[in-house]
Symmetry: C2
Subunit: 258 residues, 2 copies
């Protein structure tokens, strides 16, 4: 498989994930894995407690490209100096009276602004989040909705949510289907043929107690429609009811003869 | 803080997260933390390698309610027996020709169907995902979009995406604003007053080189609109330009006198 086409993934290439004072290299690794899952590649660390490659690699398999390119800074200002948009992640509105963006809104803004230069999403340390001055200095703040009484997200999980929303907007996902259908979808006429056969057979074997099918054919139609049949499957079902009918007629003949 | 109102969170109470053969208790803990962040509470484990409470607690602080209620099963069938909808998570379409749901679509279906009974989202083991027979037996499959060449998500992160989408639909998020504004938003008239003052001052100090303001007032208006000013801030800006004007006039008087 090849990488996603550059034309649609410029926003992912231009989005920088910034971790401020991450304390646990496992979380740096989880961040890298989430980034790589979602097609991001640029990671900046500000004063990490431990960003040792071996420790980071444990939770970020096959991601040496991101690990070897990650940058480390002494201050948040330096890490963000070249960015045209900074989104600060906060678990709570805190004292900020600004309206926080939800992740899908933040992703939209990041994608839009990324055409003008690097954009950054900044995450604070595991235990205390971002310092107020970093939040105040950001262009926008973003909050992932949670229960009010349990709002602290795991760092790697919070990073994934943002990367996931970015990828949903700007990425090229794997096609949703498995192998292509080997048979084309059943036409309405084929479906009608199958349903007609079912009804005839059911009528013949006395399935409709009152002699009238009532609502049953409509229900069967709904079931088959929902099942999204292909031609072969419609034909299979029809064949089953053809055979049931033939069997019923043979049995009935036998009964008459005996 | 109190728990979210039950009326809107029934879907979260009715959604069961099922982990099949999780190998690492840290991932069980990350699952529990993600669930608790997003208001889910029901976890089922099928043949976990290690579900020891102490090991799980490391990555799931303050979540003993979920930990003490989690259930362990010997088979997937037993774990899903009471569920009216089963969504199987797969990294790839694999051999399934069924159309996979995206997480927001899966969340919608889960919320809808949860009014009829327990619904389940099933995740496979870290290294190999779900067995094909489990995927085949599910009502629906769901795939989180990723880069095609790096599609294996961390288990806890994958769980969070589903819980996040469920919460976005059915949860009661923390209000997005921080403390209420201490001052009401500026009215259009107040904004006009501020802009008028700015223009008068700029005109007086000769800021408009050609003598005509041109597009500058419009630009200033756009900036102030985007800034979402409150009354106090609008008044502050106006005051600044009042003072600049007064200063300019005093300076001009002084120049004339000297």
């Amino acid at each position: 498989m090849t990488d996603p086409a550059p034309a649609r993934t410029g926003a992912l290439d231009s989005t920088i994930i910034v971790l401020v004072e991450p304390q646990d290299p496992i979380n740096i690794g989880n961040t890298i894995r989430a980034m790589k899952n979602m097609g991001l590649s640029r990671l900046r660390l500000v004063r990490p407690a431990n960003a040792d490659g071996a420790a980071v690699r444990i939770s970020a398999p096959k991601a040496d490209d991101i690990i070897s390119n990650m940058e480390t800074f002494d201050s948040v200002d330096e890490a963000l100096a070249d960015c045209v948009l900074v989104v600060a992640m906060t678990a709570r509105g805190r004292r900020h009276r600004r309206l926080a963006l939800r992740p899908p809104e933040a992703a939209e803004l990041l994608v839009e602004r990324s055409s003008q230069g690097p954009v950054a999403v900044v995450f604070g340390r595991e235990d205390s989040g971002l310092p107020n001055e970093v939040v105040d200095a950001a262009h926008r703040v973003c909050t992932i909705g949670t229960r009010p009484d349990y709002s602290s997200l795991n760092l790697g999980q919070a990073v994934l949510v943002i990367c996931y929303e970015l990828f949903a907007l700007a990425g090229v996902p794997e096609p949703l289907k498995g192998p292509q259908r080997t048979h084309p979808a059943a036409t309405v006429a084929e479906l009608d043929g199958t349903l007609g056969q079912m009804q005839e057979t059911l009528q013949t074997i006395g399935f409709f107690k009152s002699g009238h099918p009532g609502a049953i054919p409509g229900t069967l139609r709904q079931i088959l429609l929902r099942a999204d049949l292909d031609r072969r499957e419609a034909s299979l079902l029809r064949g089953i009811f053809v055979e049931v009918l033939a069997y019923a007629r043979r049995a009935s003949q036998g009964a008459k003869r005996s």
